[in-house]
Symmetry: C2
Subunit: 344 residues, 2 copies
DNA sequence: CTGTTAGCGCATTCAA
DNA sequence: TTGAATGCGCTAACAG
């Protein structure tokens, strides 16, 4: 089976021979070059069909020094929002005629780096990267190979790098300030091990902000698992029946772990405790109580990033805005005490 | 930018020249061939490092007629369970040294076919396919190119095809029978437009089964959207305040649309209506009330399929079981009236 | 142990 | 309009 690629693959030579033309002509037909008689073009097209010839993207890429292949780099753990993002990227890439190669990275720097190398050896024409572990250094390898890259999450910009920074910060601060306004002083941040530095930055910023306003800011370290967090919160609430405060969870499922644990132990949400999910998905409004969250359509984020990349690859000078910041909106739902949002 | 691949790419020639050896020797070093002096090996390794040489997977693949590239084919719409499956596939592929190319298909036959062609032109060494639109015919093209394929969802087996059939049927029937035993007679099936024939088969089987037991079996056509289904169910329940019966939804989010609409309009779940989700994910137990569902770890499904593929590609005779059926377990939760499951 | 050579399948000059 | 020749970057015999 190791030779399955060659055994039965019809090559351009066979087509040429069968159609009584040179392989150059076949190549011209394949690539829609003008200088071919309609007659011979038809003949070639026919034998292509008869032989079931499919050009080898491999050989084409090698000869053209172009792959029509884009790389997509994502953290290994798959969440609803990353899969939405991925979906957006792949859909757009496909519509522009690009194939998508997926590179997943563990939350370890060495792995991220090795994936960047694979990106290079894979000869992708460009890449969209959403990976918190990757610093600018790692990405500089890519620059050397002059492969256009779009970074999601950070603001980076140079000759071969564009970016789609994501702003969750202002939305969070808005939510926290609203909480402060109505008298709240107690913030609890659920910290998952190595969520990436997007979330780390958020935590630090939040910490600073709370300090300024002299609110208490505590951190709960937790696993990235609904079940375990649910258990932990249950024991927590059981040991401390009059818990109150404002809980901030990185994602819907973890936010639900908090609301469910609270509800199941007789605490009222949002009367006793309030809960906010940083990255909201549709499960924000499917859950009961619905979760107040920051809303940003990650499918759209992925689409935009990939659209930027295609422009970047084919027409770099046309890409005016190399930085396209996106902001997540704070959407008030039932898990916080904010005055009801009239838009709901 | 169109020439970015060649411009700065260090080739094997440059390394050979710099290290004062022939390109064959460099190739040997790269591929860990034994017959190289430790001294020259080091010299080559050093200059590789200095020059920052990265072998071109493209040229390698062309020369070796092997790509170490696997194709993954999935429907375009991304659900939690497909992304879990994808995650499992990619993780395993990576651990075996394969890169993953993603091919997404619209729910249209022509598109599925064109993606199969891309699979061929892409020179993947093998592919895992989960796509309900693809019949055996379409897949036969792959056979001609002798590319090993693992199909998820259907039972197919021949020289170049293995499969991981998924059995949701027996679980569903078990649930429905239990409903029958406790006196229930009214089944309602939520049918999403072109969910694929996995779900279609299930519906037909269910219909037959209900007919046999003289239960009523009605179908509600609905969109693939939580929000719209929620609205539809709301008006339905409003117009019909004493609705009862057993609702079967294809996925958690749609099942939640039913339970939420019911609950929000004062109906009790599971006292008034019961709800079952066919493909259950963690949102089955995150939602309130929790959703009874068929449970099958799709990450595992993806992992298994990909592991089969790697065996299939490298050592086809070693793959004893070319069909590896997986069965989804019926897990009782709060949305149905089954006697409580002691395992919970 | 190392170098020479001939492809892999195709695009693209340059002649004809 | 077409064909012959060359090369993309690398591997794999085959010599030496």
């Amino acid at each position: 089976m190791s030779d399955n690629q060659t055994k039965n693959r019809v090559t351009i030579y066979q087509v040429a021979h069968q159609a009584n033309v040179s392989l150059a002509t076949v190549s011209r037909v394949i690539n829609n070059h003008p200088n071919v008689t309609e007659k011979t073009r038809q003949r070639v097209l026919d034998t292509i069909k008869v032989l079931g010839y499919k050009p080898s993207a491999l050989a084409q890429s090698l000869a053209k020094a172009k792959t029509t292949n884009v790389g997509i780099m994502l953290p290994e753990n798959s969440y609803v929002y990353t899969s939405n993002m991925l979906s957006g990227m792949v859909t757009v890439a496909k519509s522009y005629g690009f194939r998508s190669s997926l590179f997943v990275t563990k939350r370890i720097k060495a792995d991220a780096q090795s994936q960047v190398e694979k990106l290079i050896t894979s000869h992708v024409d460009g890449a969209v990267i959403y990976d918190d572990e990757l610093s600018i250094e790692e990405l500089s390898i890519l620059k050397k190979y002059e492969v256009p890259v779009v970074i999601i999450g950070h603001e980076i910009e140079d000759q071969f790098t564009a970016s789609v920074p994501l702003d969750f910060k202002s939305g969070i601060l808005q939510a926290v300030d609203a909480y402060y306004e109505r008298g709240g002083r107690e913030i609890t941040f659920l910290q998952v091990d190595s969520e990436g530095f997007l979330m780390d930055e958020l935590r630090d910023e939040l910490n600073r902000h709370c300090r300024e306003k002299s609110m208490t800011f505590s951190i709960i370290d937790c696993d990235d698992s609904y079940q375990r967090l649910y258990m932990d919160m249950c024991t927590r609430f059981r040991n401390n029946p009059n818990t109150h405060g404002y809980f901030i969870a990185p994602r819907d499922s973890l936010a639900c772990a908090v609301t469910n644990a609270a509800t199941d132990l007789g605490l009222k949400v949002p009367q006793d405790i309030e809960v906010l999910s940083v990255i909201g998905t549709k499960y924000s409004y499917i859950a009961r109580p619905q979760i107040s969250s920051l809303s940003l359509d990650m499918f759209m984020v992925g689409s935009i990033a990939m659209r930027m990349l295609t422009k970047f690859m084919t027409n770099p000078e046309k890409l005016k805005k190399k930085v396209y910041p996106l902001k997540a909106n704070y959407v008030v739902r039932g898990s916080t005490n904010d005055p009801a949002d009239p838009t709901l």
